[in-house]
Symmetry: C2
Subunit: 369 residues, 2 copies
């Protein structure tokens, strides 16, 4: 995390300055920001309708009348706010035309629909539009102290909710009902939202890495996999635990212990400077060596922050090195179709001295009596 962050509660000027530096390096006079999490990061605005124009001297946020009351409170002096009564895009053209020396303007290639790209070429034809990738995302990947604290609050909410939920799981309860219990506890712990659709996958369904909750009723001896998170001040946590309803059999225990060891090895050995692919291998090589290589069919982890999936990625194909201040998930799993699966997911902060595991919920195999 950046040292300057702890000294200030408002890091938006620092973020904007870093973005302007990146724009300068890319030879751009400005950036049209269309990704809402990027807009929130730069301005604090959390609404669902916004465009942001950043140049060397100006920072103009366009939103609609529905957010007129909210936007002032959230944005303060971080941006000039324009409330548009028709399309946000209609507001952009006169504003950008009034900014001196703005010719080459970047846009976010991964966050601009073709429909809106067509507007740039038509109504915005007097400017030179340049696709950009990850300009704001690469800033967001490095968390400051305030962001880490928010993620920790979101982790605390998730862990307390899980602790209250697990003792209530029992054969006969459906996955959907269990998700409802967990979500109510998340709300009671203060979660603003659900960062993604809660996964409660039981018995054979625990072998589906992206199952949601279904109407399947728990049976004695089932694995129950819970993958969920909380949101605090916009920041997400993302946690998975897998438990057994009743006494685990030897097979379940053996698979569980491989995943647990893979999780511990990865969070113990992940280091700043390591490539994403090398981090992924920390868990993958161990699971491979235990004979389950084919059964770990997803990547090891991903960054969390204002989005539950953001930069960096810990995956086989990723060459980019990890950096201090990144917060990532470590989530190895083993899935056997028809039988079941285990995933154990923690959230860790990368520091110069190694990973700090932010999640504290026990990782041993919990058997729910």
């Amino acid at each position: 995390m950046r040292d300057d962050a702890a000294l200030s509660t408002d890091n938006r000027p620092t973020r904007l300055a870093a973005l302007r530096e990146a724009l300068g390096k890319a030879d751009l006079d400005g950036l049209l920001v269309t990704a809402l999490p990027n807009i929130r990061y730069l301005t604090g605005f959390s609404g669902s309708s916004a465009l942001l124009l950043v140049t060397a001297l100006d920072c103009v946020l366009f939103t609609d009348f529905r957010y007129e009351a909210q936007v002032g409170d959230e944005v303060g002096r971080a941006a000039t706010v324009r409330i548009e009564s028709t399309s946000l895009w209609n507001g952009v053209w006169p504003v950008i035309a009034g900014l001196p020396g703005v010719e080459r303007v970047g846009f976010e290639s991964a966050h601009l629909l073709h429909r809106d790209f067509a507007r740039l070429l038509e109504q915005g034809s007097r400017w030179q539009w340049r696709p950009t990738v990850d300009l704001v995302e690469s800033l967001r990947a490095i968390k400051d102290a305030g962001e880490v604290a928010a993620i920790q609050r979101a982790i605390g909410m998730a862990e307390r909710a899980l602790g209250r939920t697990l003792p209530l799981l029992a054969p006969g309860m459906t996955e959907t009902a269990a998700a409802g219990l967990l979500e109510r506890h998340l709300r009671e712990e203060g979660s603003e939202a659900y960062p993604f659709a809660t996964i409660v996958a039981s018995g054979p369904r625990s072998a589906l890495p992206h199952a949601r909750a279904s109407d399947r009723a728990f049976e004695p001896g089932d694995f129950v996999l819970l993958d969920f998170g909380a949101v605090a001040d916009g920041y997400c946590s993302d946690i998975t635990r897998t438990v057994v309803l009743g006494a685990a059999n030897a097979d379940q225990r053996a698979v569980y212990e491989v995943v647990r060891e893979a999780n511990l090895r990865a969070s113990g050995a992940i280091r700043v400077g390591m490539r994403g692919m090398a981090a992924d291998a920390l868990a993958r090589d161990y699971i491979d060596a235990c004979g389950h290589g084919d059964a770990f069919g997803h990547s090891l982890g991903h960054g969390i922050g204002l989005e539950v999936h953001e930069a960096p990625r810990l995956a086989k194909t990723i060459e980019a090195p990890l950096a201090t201040g990144m917060v990532v998930t470590i989530e190895p799993g083993i899935y056997r179709p028809g039988w079941g699966g285990v995933r154990i997911e923690d959230d860790v902060l990368l520091t110069e001295d190694g990973a700090v595991v932010l999640t504290t919920f026990p990782r041993h195999l919990i058997e729910i009596a």
Copy 2:
């Protein structure tokens, strides 16, 4: 709703035939479908990673290994499934190159990111790519009997959950805790997911049309506005009720009655063939006439289905006429900044004989003792 729908449980062939007819009219040899709800509508696939290629003879769905188990069950014979181990896009080029007579291919302009549009121009440069708008969406706007039944199930879940939640609201409870209660009840009633972030807005916050739940605690005499929905077999409901904690004062009652009357007038008079703008005016003109015109700052309603906001729109600017089989929300509101707001939202099915109001929850002002 289409008459043929009631006779068959699988309407996917009908939908595909209608799309192919639309492609023929647009002089296109095929369509690359990138919007996940459109893919679900045409194939049944509910996963979060997919591309679909539709031509006169072929229908090919591309997804990744995570969905290998799920996709077969969901899609059946509705499409040829290709499981891609790297990028879905890598799978598209060899497949499309093998389809005879495919030259002019449409893409979904409102659902294709610039990043992916660039792929069409680069890796896909041997085809002629044509932007399209709303080809599948305009089919989806007309619900068949199975879709209406799913929406009705989602409405039933939402109404039962609301009925269980309202008696538990009390001063001192936070909006977030109330949202958690409501959401748990939604889960217990069988909702697969939350179609949007639950709104619980109390006291002055009820004047924010897009407030989410916050940590504000209810106070005696507050308006409490609840806007939420359930999901059944992928289909959404969307309901709003506004109640008072304790006895309503005269001002609250007066505003409430204007909104209630506007709601009743709109759902009573909305007709097939009417333009979206005329439907909007049914409520707006009444609210205007009552002296609250400036306080109804959003449009009257929108279609619901696989998405909670879909075609058609009932708004001041919409000239398109309404058609039989559309399911739309009717949600007039009055919002006074600093004081509070009221919205009453129902879901209605348009038939040749007028609107059938699918929501049955009482619309009178409920005072929670």
